[in-house]
């Protein structure tokens, strides 16, 4: 059971470089999310998607773009990385806020990104 898989798990970038984080889930979830986790800040929602082909902004969307071309994949892109984007990024998926398992997010193991 793969669940939610994030790649890569570690990456070091220089300021101004671009990269894409890939999230894949095999649970047929409609909802997918990208969070960043920083010390003392908890998890902050970057972008999320409520279904294939849809995306929406979260709490801290600036400097990031996302795409959901396939239901099982949710990509997070940094077009021009900045040191402030050094963080641990978590992808999650869920059935949304309806049904028996409403609100239960399934998380990947995280991707640690350092921007120099």
């Amino acid at each position: 059971n793969a669940g939610v898989t994030q790649t890569p798990k570690f990456r070091v970038l220089k300021t101004g470089q671009s990269m894409t984080l890939l999230c894949a889930q095999d649970m047929n979830h409609e909802y997918m999310y990208w969070y960043r986790q920083d010390p003392g800040m908890g998890l902050r929602l970057i972008h999320y998607s409520v279904g294939e082909g849809t995306t929406a902004k979260g709490e801290v969307p600036d400097g990031y773009n996302v795409s959901r071309l396939k239901k099982q994949n949710f990509l997070l892109g940094l077009e021009s990385a900045a040191p402030s984007q050094t963080s641990v990024y978590f992808c999650a998926s869920s059935w949304g806020l309806a049904g028996v398992r409403a609100g239960e997010l399934f998380f990947g193991e995280g991707s640690r990104l350092t921007v120099l």
Binding site: L43, S94, G103, E104, E109, G110
Partner: protein, 112 residues
């Protein structure tokens, strides 16, 4: 806007002692509330959730939480803490559009 506040950044309790982690939320309607736990180097795992009905909800690993609308609170409790409970705990509120907004987290340390 929806928000969650966890007033305690770090709590230390002795093994076998009781535990209460505080959570306050801001939300206009009846909230969907959650507690998640994160072990070091891992993603988050759902402990319990409240949607409606009985205000005292039971979760996994012996945890429970009580929803108090008058205090806008959803505190997490455990009667007897085990060393394996050391982790970071996050309270979250389900917001419009199906997203979850998390609090800042409370790190729990357990003394032997």
């Amino acid at each position: 806007a929806q928000s969650v506040t966890q007033p305690d950044i770090h709590i230390t309790v002795s093994e076998g002692a009781s535990l209460e982690l505080r959570c306050n939320y801001s939300y206009g309607a009846t909230p969907y509330l959650f507690w998640y736990v994160q072990s070091p180097g891992q993603g988050l795992q759902l402990l319990l959730k409240y949607f409606s009905g009985d205000t005292l909800v039971q979760g996994i690993k012996g945890f429970e939480a009580e929803f108090k609308r008058s205090q806008s609170s959803f505190n997490l409790r455990k009667p007897s803490v085990h060393w394996s409970d050391a982790a970071e705990y996050f309270c979250a509120v389900g917001a419009q559009g199906g997203k979850l907004i998390f609090g800042q987290g409370t790190e729990l340390s357990v003394k032997p």
